[in-house]
């Protein structure tokens, strides 16, 4: 499956006087699974909506294969953005039935794979006769996952697909995603707050913070730049020379710092009498986007 490059340049978006996206650039290359992580209100859903021409932008451009995506049927045929379902719709209950929702997806997505959709329906034990408003949060997530996978769109975007799913279902979801990815080489963008269990699935991770992209890097490479260093205060301070210190905690003379730096400098720190431990993606995220709140 040959997807083009999805590219955003200089995106700005405000809701009333609240600026949500600030002059944002992003390139999505084909054949990769991207993870999009950011705190509540960071602008994730707004960004995904604009990338797929479902939301308007104030300025900047979004192109697919070099052509603007806005009202571009050819581009939008290749892109699926499976939004989070809401129990209410236009101030009333969401009375659409699952089957109606699936039928509209079948019309909208030219690559719709009905067999695959039916298999997933069976596996998720979803009743097509149920109204969206009657589904549990987890079942709503299953519907959005089903649509995303069965759309077979070369670029498929899932917003919080793991929300409300139990841990067994979440593992199954990532398994399905990887199975499909191995077969089709589609491009996926997945946003999630349950970071750690998704980290090994993401080839690249995009970190959005306060409307800006602070990282867009290969996951392992990014994580490799971060460490915790702990030990006696003065020795730790010495060992941190040349490293970027992101946060520090102290109990008496025992000090723990979160640092970032290149591999050579991190290795040099190892010479001191300190404990150095690796971070996981969740630690990295908290270090970069915590702004002292949770720390």
């Amino acid at each position: 499956m040959n997807a083009g490059i999805l590219k955003a340049e200089g995106l700005c978006k405000s809701y009333k006087d609240k600026e949500v996206l600030h002059d944002l650039d992003l390139t999505i290359e084909p054949g990769k699974i991207y993870g999009l992580i950011g705190r509540n209100g960071a602008g994730k859903t707004t960004l995904l909506g604009i990338l797929t021409a479902q939301n308007t932008k104030d300025s900047g451009s979004v192109t697919y294969d070099g052509q603007p995506v806005w009202e571009n049927q050819k581009a939008l045929d290749d892109i699926c953005f499976s939004r989070e379902l809401q129990p209410t719709l236009f101030s009333g209950p969401n009375n659409l039935k699952v089957k109606h929702y699936l039928r509209s997806a079948a019309i909208y997505y030219p690559n719709w794979d009905l067999d695959y959709a039916l298999r997933l329906l069976d596996e998720f034990q979803l009743s097509t006769k149920k109204k969206i408003s009657q589904l549990s949060k987890g079942q709503m997530s299953m519907v959005t996952i089903l649509i995303a996978l069965a759309s077979r769109a070369p670029i498929t975007i899932l917003d919080e697909p793991a929300a409300g799913l139990d841990v067994v279902m979440r593992e199954r979801f990532y398994q399905l995603l990887l199975e499909d990815f191995a077969q089709t080489d589609r491009t996926f963008i997945v946003s999630t707050h349950i970071i750690e269990e998704a980290a090994s699935v993401f080839e690249r991770v995009i970190i959005l913070d306060q409307g800006r992209i602070v990282e867009n890097a290969p996951t392992e490479e990014l994580i490799g730049q971060f460490r915790y260093i702990s030990g006696r205060e003065d020795v730790v301070d010495q060992a941190c020379t040349g490293l970027q210190v992101l946060s520090a905690h102290q109990m008496g003379r025992h000090k723990t710092v979160a640092v970032r730096g290149d591999v050579v400098k991190l290795e040099a720190a190892q010479e001191a009498d300190v404990d150095i431990s690796p971070m996981n993606l969740q630690n990295v995220f908290v270090s970069l986007c915590g702004h002292g709140d949770a720390q």
Partner: protein, 126 residues
């Protein structure tokens, strides 16, 4: 759970080991107070009972002692006690795995000893 803790061994053991390291590095000296159960719980986002279990372990070994109504303190001679304890665990924890890995790589005893001597030399040069 956060920060330097990992999920490779029980958390209370990691807390105990960390306090031991702090004692060896003189982050906490003899007769000095160590962080309370609640401070440890808050710092590492763990259950206070887990932190208490780590401290209790060191109390039972005489490395820490309790001053009623004040808190936990580092005992006299705690540093040498920790060193003694670590030495006892050194054979099982480091030497045996070293020999085992060496054997699986078909290293001879002479090669192994030569490597250890080389590493000791490098450590001395620092």
């Amino acid at each position: 759970m956060r920060g330097t803790l990992n999920d490779r061994s029980p958390i209370y053991l990691q807390i105990a080991q960390m306090l031991e390291d702090d004692i060896l590095r003189e982050s906490f000296r003899e007769e000095e107070q160590v962080p309370s159960t609640n401070e440890l719980a808050r710092e590492y986002n763990i259950n206070p009972a887990t932190a208490a279990k780590g401290i209790d372990l060191l109390v039972s070994e005489g490395i820490l002692y309790k001053r009623r109504g004040i808190g936990m303190f580092v005992a006299k001679g705690a540093g040498s006690m920790v060193r003694q304890k670590r030495k006892a665990a050194f054979y099982d924890g480091y030497v045996k795995p070293l020999v085992k890995e060496g054997a699986s790589l078909a290293l001879t005893g002479e090669e192994l000893v030569a490597m250890i001597q080389q590493a000791m030399g490098e450590e001395k040069d620092k």
